[in-house]
């Protein structure tokens, strides 16, 4: 109602005085599915409500395609006003080439470094004292989603660590359910690997590998253990896994065909679409992990440099809008992700989101995903190795370790 009124008002105003300062800000993003689309609509509506400038939507399915398009458009001299990336090293070359707008003035004015938490979320945006992107949310990757009824019927406890998982999985199979639902696509296999890695080691080891790129650690016993645990999971999936989409795997948990799935927090959307209740019908366990951790993965927006002063103003305005408390609340509730600031009303959050928020309060429990530290190229090499290892049981752990250490050694 209120929104409508304001909308009418701006319409009337803009009809009266045709503002020469209004800019159209084209935004390239890859939020094309149901829940994501609701979330991006929050941004678009809130931005348009500010009056004057308008949000022009360019949705392109699949992150890789959207990012490639952004690069090509920048190269072609037809850069969008804003574009979505993951908080990672995907856009560092754009910064180095001086193609992105430095958001420092507005970040200083609004005090981003004071309210964004944990501050490490901003790390991928910072380079040589400038701030080049706006992180808008935190998506945690490592959750074990469980069907509570399946566990109750089998008289089994939900596992909280990988060790427990390996003990309970054979019993689940004996009870006639698939212990682990997995979509066998390279990114999902890699996702599972990362969860096993952080869950069986710790934050220090994680950073030793991805941040310090230590080849000794990459071929050492701890890493061997990661590969062994990961390999042991092969026997607990079903025949139809290869090529399956992640949400079809989630659906197997929902229907009770499978007991568990390892997936990021976006899987919540599937459970709520099926009208299931968090911690009642389905469980969400951070990990499985020796210590509960939360990845600080997420989405960020960059703003290509422009010589059009009006557009630049509109870009600053958009960056500021994306981080304002009420927009953060609305957007993240729609998206099912966690806000990047702690003064946000998340009273609508369900039991699983609350677990995430609680972890977020403790900086020791949060860590950055691998692609914050390594280039897209290195990350791709790891993907190739993991999918090969997962799908070829004949590949020895030794071979995998050697290749892995080589990749880490070559990483820039």
């Amino acid at each position: 109602m209120m929104g409508k009124k304001i909308g009418m008002l701006t319409l009337a105003l803009s009809a009266v005085s045709v503002s020469v300062h209004a800019a159209n800000v084209e935004v390239i993003h890859w939020w094309t599915s149901g829940g994501e689309q609701k979330a991006v609509t929050v941004f678009a509506d809130e931005y348009n409500k500010l009056g004057g400038d308008s949000w022009v939507d360019s949705a392109v399915a699949l992150g890789e395609n959207a990012r490639a398009l952004t690069m090509q458009r920048i190269l072609g001299g037809d850069a969008p006003g804003a574009a979505q990336f993951n908080t990672s090293r995907q856009f560092e070359e754009l910064i180095e080439e001086g193609l992105l707008l430095d958001l420092t003035p507005i970040a200083k004015k609004e005090g981003w470094l004071q309210f964004i938490r944990p501050t490490s979320v901003l790390d991928p945006c910072m380079k040589d004292g400038g701030i080049y992107c706006v992180p808008v949310n935190i998506h945690s990757n490592q959750w074990l989603w469980t069907n509570k009824k399946v566990f109750a019927d089998a008289g089994l406890q939900e596992p909280t660590t990988w060790k427990e998982f390996l003990q309970v999985a054979p019993k689940l199979r004996a009870a006639g359910v698939i212990p682990l639902a997995l979509g066998g696509q390279a990114w999902q296999e890699r996702h599972l690997f990362d969860v096993v890695m952080i869950g069986t080691t710790d934050k220090a080891f994680w950073s030793q590998i991805w941040d310090k790129k230590d080849p000794e650690a990459a071929s050492g016993d701890t890493m061997r253990g990661v590969f062994e645990t990961f390999g042991a999971l092969r026997q607990f999936i079903d025949q139809g896994s290869p090529g399956r989409n992640w949400n079809d795997a989630t659906n197997m948990v929902i229907t009770g065909k499978a007991a568990t799935q390892v997936m990021g927090d976006w899987a919540r959307g599937e459970f709520s679409a099926a009208n299931l209740k968090a911690d009642v019908d389905y469980g969400c366990i951070p990990g499985p992990s020796i210590k509960p951790y939360l990845t600080l993965a997420g989405d960020a927006f960059i703003f290509p440099k422009t010589d059009d002063a009006d557009l630049e103003n509109a870009q600053f305005k958009m960056a500021s809008m994306m981080l304002s408390p009420q927009v953060q609340a609305k957007f993240n509730n729609a998206k099912g992700s966690l806000p990047v600031r702690d003064d946000v009303d998340m009273s609508l959050a369900d039991a699983c989101m609350k677990k995430g928020l609680k972890l977020l309060e403790n900086t020791d429990a949060t860590f950055a995903p691998a692609n914050v530290y390594i280039t897209a190229d290195t990350n791709g090499q790891v993907d190739d190795l993991i999918t090969t290892f997962w799908n070829e049981p004949d590949m020895s752990v030794d071979t995998a370790l050697t290749i892995f250490a080589g990749i880490i050694d070559d990483a820039e």
Binding site: E26, H29, W30, W31, T32, S33, G34, G35, E36, Q37, V40, T41, A44, W55, V56, D57, S58, A59, V60, A61, L62, G63, N65, L69, Q72, R73, L75, G76, G77, D78, N245, W246, N247, D248, N251, T255, W266, G269, E270, A273
Partner: protein
């Protein structure tokens, strides 16, 4: 000119077993070709719960066109929720001129190569044929930069030129083979009568080339209508083809996949090339017969 004279095969034998064999083979082949279409159609008429129950071949219990309506005019592709219809006219805007121009140029090339054999033309054609094998992603960067410099990046003209360029190898091959199969005397007689380059092309060659032109239309329409990537990169935001919305609907990464809507959107998108096949099947065979006389 090869006339379509109906089947030229051996006289059908009276032996009825071999007749059964012929029909048996054709029917089995037809079933193989039909299955995917059948699945697409029945799935698009089912509701999501019915699809989740998972019998791919079952007829829809309660057929409904809801998924079709949604795909055409309601499905969301980002902030906008108006289905794939928005891109339909853009696809027409891109396809019609691209098909027309690429065929025109292919025809002129083929004609020039066949009858006006000047030095170097065949070398160019050789390069062009080699170019047919280049995955276009490889040469995209320089083209983007070139278009930026001449100021047509992200415009309708840009995408039309790109389609014309990438269609040129196959179009030229098709027309060259066709024109080479025509008797040289036709051309020589016209030259003696004093007809010029364009006159011969428009008055003598093109009327004869109608069948092969139909083949070219089919090949190009299919290729250009189904293109997604080039349209996305070169057409500019205002002119995005239908396939961009289709891809946004079909390949959503994180979210509920509505298979019925996906299938409906898919069939709707394929309607234009399918219609062209249905109406031009006869010409297709006739045209290729003419075009492929010489390999």
């Amino acid at each position: 000119m090869t006339k379509l004279t109906g089947p030229q095969g051996p006289k059908p034998s009276r032996n009825s077993t071999s007749r059964y064999g012929v029909y048996g083979f054709l029917i089995i082949a037809a079933i193989f070709f039909c299955i995917p279409l059948y699945i697409m159609v029945v799935t698009s008429l089912k509701g999501m719960p019915e699809i989740r129950l998972g019998d791919l071949f079952a007829l829809p219990g309660d057929p409904s066109f809801a998924a079709w309506t949604k795909a055409w005019s309601e499905a969301c592709t980002g902030v906008q929720c108006d289905g794939i219809q928005g891109g339909f006219w853009n696809s027409i805007k891109i396809s019609v001129p691209s098909v027309a121009i690429s065929i025109a140029i292919g025809a002129i090339n083929g004609y020039a190569l066949s009858f006006w054999r000047f030095k170097g033309a065949n070398v160019l054609f050789g390069v062009l044929l080699f170019g047919a094998f280049v995955p276009f992603q490889v040469v995209i960067f320089p083209i983007i930069i070139f278009f930026r410099e001449i100021g047509i990046y992200g415009s309708l003209l840009g995408i039309i030129l790109v389609h014309t360029a990438f269609g040129m190898p196959i179009m030229t091959l098709l027309f060259r083979n066709y024109f080479s199969s025509l008797p040289e005397e036709l051309f020589k007689a016209a030259r003696v009568d004093g007809a010029g380059f364009w006159q011969i092309f428009f008055q003598i060659m093109m009327p004869l080339a109608i069948p092969v032109t139909v083949v070219a239309v089919i090949l190009q329409t299919t290729g250009i209508w189904n293109d997604y990537l080039l349209g996305l990169i070169f057409a500019g935001r205002e002119n995005l083809p239908m396939t961009v919305q289709l891809n946004n609907i079909v390949s959503a990464t994180f979210g509920v996949r509505e298979y019925n809507v996906n299938m409906a959107a898919t069939i709707l998108t394929a309607m234009v090339p399918l219609a062209i096949y249905l109406f031009s099947g006869k010409y297709f065979v006739r045209g290729i017969a003419a075009g492929a006389v010489k390999g």
